[in-house]
């Protein structure tokens, strides 16, 4: 059993995404989440971690680390996904308005779904990011009886 809060830091690389998913999935299960809610938590955190692995650091940056901080309360599971990369303007974190907008087949590219997933699958999401100061994404899921 894990004693919350817990922090887990590793290399921010796409190759570790499956391990991070397993880690979060087990933690969500331990906190009593199952079924659809567990799937949503795993996927939302995976999207945040994927963003870090793909976008947070410039090539050659030796600070390429990602930290997951998980905290459980009687009401909710809260996960912070933290990097120390180049950061960005919070306006960049505004997702598409809808899946329908994403699914228009005349689009030139199909980006932006990850942010939509984080907002849709979690009960709360906040982004704290500034240029060259890294990014902290907070994802919170309430237990159904507490929602």
């Amino acid at each position: 059993m894990t004693d919350f809060p817990v922090r887990y830091t590793c290399l921010a690389d796409r190759a570790v995404l499956s391990l991070l998913r397993q880690y979060v999935s087990r933690a969500a299960e331990q906190c009593g989440f199952s079924g659809e809610d567990a799937i949503k938590i795993e996927m939302a955190v995976d999207e945040a971690c994927s963003n870090v692995a793909e976008h947070a650091y410039l090539d050659g940056d030796d600070r390429r680390m990602i930290t997951l901080q998980l905290d459980s309360s009687p009401e909710a599971l809260t996960i912070h996904v933290i990097d120390h990369g180049r950061g960005g303007c919070p306006a960049d974190f505004h997702p598409l308005g809808s899946i329908e907008e994403y699914c228009r087949l005349d689009r030139g590219a199909f980006g932006g779904l990850g942010l939509l997933i984080m907002r849709r699958f979690m009960d709360e999401m906040e982004v704290d990011s500034a240029p060259n100061a890294g990014t902290r994404v907070m994802l919170r899921k309430y237990r159904s009886e507490a929602a």
Binding site: L17, E36, S50, L105, G114
Partner: protein
């Protein structure tokens, strides 16, 4: 958990070639470039009908869904179609929660998938 792999075979039908793509493991930001590259090779051979066998796909992320959208866009531009065969409950649940079960065609057995593509 199965590791990521792609196995591509081709079948002939009365109306032309159908490419069957068997994907195992997970389709995420780490594996999607390999998947994209393999699909691009098939599209360059002028194939426009794809059967994506997801029986052994255990996870799909937004990167994987985006890749499927690009493939769907390309095959439809070429007058073709794409059918997803027998996705695992977790993969189907994600696609359904996000509304993609209205976008993609699904089949629960190979015969009906082949029929939908013929």
């Amino acid at each position: 958990m199965k590791p990521f792999s792609i196995d591509v075979t081709q079948e002939s039908s009365a109306s032309g070639a159908i490419v069957e793509v068997h994907v195992s493991g997970f389709l995420d930001a780490h594996t999607v470039n390999t998947f994209d590259g393999r699909m691009e090779e098939e599209l360059e051979r002028d194939v426009n009908r794809f059967l994506l066998n997801f029986e052994e796909l255990s996870y799909i992320s937004s990167a994987g869904i985006g890749s499927l959208m690009v493939l769907l866009q390309q095959v439809r531009r070429k007058g073709g179609e794409l059918v997803i065969l027998n996705p695992q409950p977790k993969v189907y649940a994600v696609l359904d929660l996000l509304g993609f079960t209205k976008i993609f065609h699904f089949a629960s057995d190979r015969a009906s998938a082949m029929q939908a593509l013929s």
